[in-house]
Symmetry: C2
Subunit: 305 residues, 2 copies
């Protein structure tokens, strides 16, 4: 694979890079989400409520930073980051519904169906998913329609019945029924891993990178996603509601299948650290420009909220 040029390069710290990506993705979301207008205004309000002004924007950061490895125009990268965050926001709205995880809190504020109502929340999630694919298909996302088709197909594969939604189905069916380590690992790979992997890959699609570089970014995303999920489950098990902005201890109460439940906290933490190190190693050949992505792998397993 190609080695980045040796010119002097100022690599931002991870907090700076995270903040910069979050700002650009947030600005793109604000532009791309519908405005509350007409008799259907409540729908746009709910879409914006559930998407804007919250979350760490990790998926948006992965899209922006991976695109940055290939000199992609920042506006294009921000659109892809925004589309992925819309897809993620839709999944959170539907996961929180009474018929699903029945959660009243999300990102430290009432979940969408609590702030609005169930029907509005279902529809807001539906319309966010639609808008995510629409944004990717629009010419402003990339001048080459083949790249746009690959983004649409890639996001769909990560999000659909063989990805995120399939994982959520397994999760619902597994409540109270013991899964083994391999089953939990596949569940998590589908439920959260595939979308995180696609986020890291999306920059390679935008940058028309070769398959070797695309595969390295996908491998990074896969290991990062698995590490992130274990860390998230450890926080749920050990953190407080104030720290995480979500109802604490819900997973154990609901008999959720997590790596923490099957391995115990200590082995789960060790496994997450191993995965995070492996994730960073995939990007060793990308040079200093990939430093924020490598730093993220360390961050996800050491964060406290």
């Amino acid at each position: 694979m190609s080695v980045p040029p040796a010119e002097p390069l100022t690599v931002p710290s991870l907090p700076d890079a995270l903040a910069r990506a979050a700002r650009s993705v947030e600005a793109a979301l604000d532009t791309l989400l519908p405005r509350p207008e007409g008799p259907e205004a409540r729908l746009a309000e709910a879409m914006r409520y559930a998407t804007l002004g919250g979350g760490k924007r990790m998926r948006g950061f992965l899209a922006v930073e991976s695109a940055g490895l290939f000199a992609v125009a920042p506006t294009c990268a921000a659109r892809v980051g925004a589309a992925i965050e819309m897809l993620h926001a839709y999944s959170l709205i539907h996961d929180d519904l009474p018929a699903m995880d029945d959660d009243d809190l999300r990102r430290g504020k009432p979940s969408c169906h609590r702030a609005f109502d169930e029907a509005t929340a279902i529809l807001a999630g539906d319309a966010l998913q639609t808008r995510a694919f629409e944004v990717l298909a629009e010419p402003d996302t990339h001048s080459d329609p083949l790249a746009r088709c690959e983004l649409v197909a890639g996001l769909a594969a990560a999000a659909g019945a063989r990805g995120m939604v399939g994982g959520q189905m397994i999760d619902m069916l597994a409540e109270g029924r013991p899964l083994d380590t391999a089953e939990v690992s596949r569940l998590q790979a589908l439920k959260t891993g595939r979308l995180i992997q696609f986020s890291a890959e999306s920059g390679a699609i935008l940058g028309r990178a070769g398959s070797a570089q695309r595969h390295l970014l996908a491998a990074y995303g896969r290991d990062l996603g698995a590490a992130f999920q274990i860390a998230d489950d450890l926080l749920d098990a050990e953190g407080t509601t104030e720290e995480t902005g979500k109802t604490a201890g819900k997973d154990a109460a609901a008999g959720k299948a997590t790596m923490v439940a099957v391995l115990g906290p200590e082995r789960a933490r060790a496994h997450a650290l191993m995965l995070a190190g492996q994730a960073a190693e995939h990007l060793a050949g990308f040079g200093p420009r990939a430093a924020p992505l490598r730093a993220l792998a360390e961050f996800v397993v050491t964060r406290r909220s």
Copy 2:
């Protein structure tokens, strides 16, 4: 616009054309929907239950017949018809949920959340939407990625916050509150009209037709969709549950905003007949190949179920 060639042409009757299109779309759906496999098998079962073996496939017919005007490969047209039917099936699953229209019957059998459960129905709808966009973005749908992007963006515009889902939001908010004729007309245009319009337009996108022909097909679809919705509401008001396969009289009981409610059945029927005639006229210049599409316009306002 171009005039079709004068060679002898066997134009099938509407019932034959409807049956042929339904068969090809059904076969495509069977191929394109996920198979029940693995621990998430229940999700694929629910997706297939709600999509296969039911419905008139009017939207699929519109895609197949409009593509037939431009010598599009039948397999490509069937894929687009299947994607639109998946999108439509997702909307019916979510509309029937307890938090929405709370309907126990759909196409003469238990609605998806009654046959499975609410969580499974929400997820099946979500994954059907995802799969619809994925199918359109895949290379088998069209050799030109620009056409695929236009299909994705067109379906998204018809289905999203400024289309079908926006219309559903207005519908939910309007229950029990009187709307005037213009408001009901816009509600119906968003809720069902835009997707029917896109179905008729999709053949022109697949066939890389000029904008004049695309606009005529869009105008046909717009008028057809409005006529269809009024006829559907008349059937709800006057038909029986056995005839329609849906719970009869639900609209009036729920205080739904329909053209039948604002105009009364007689004026609503006259308006539907006028729209159907107008729809057929838009296709006058397409010659005998468009006969089934013109016949459909008459059929939708005269059908009894």
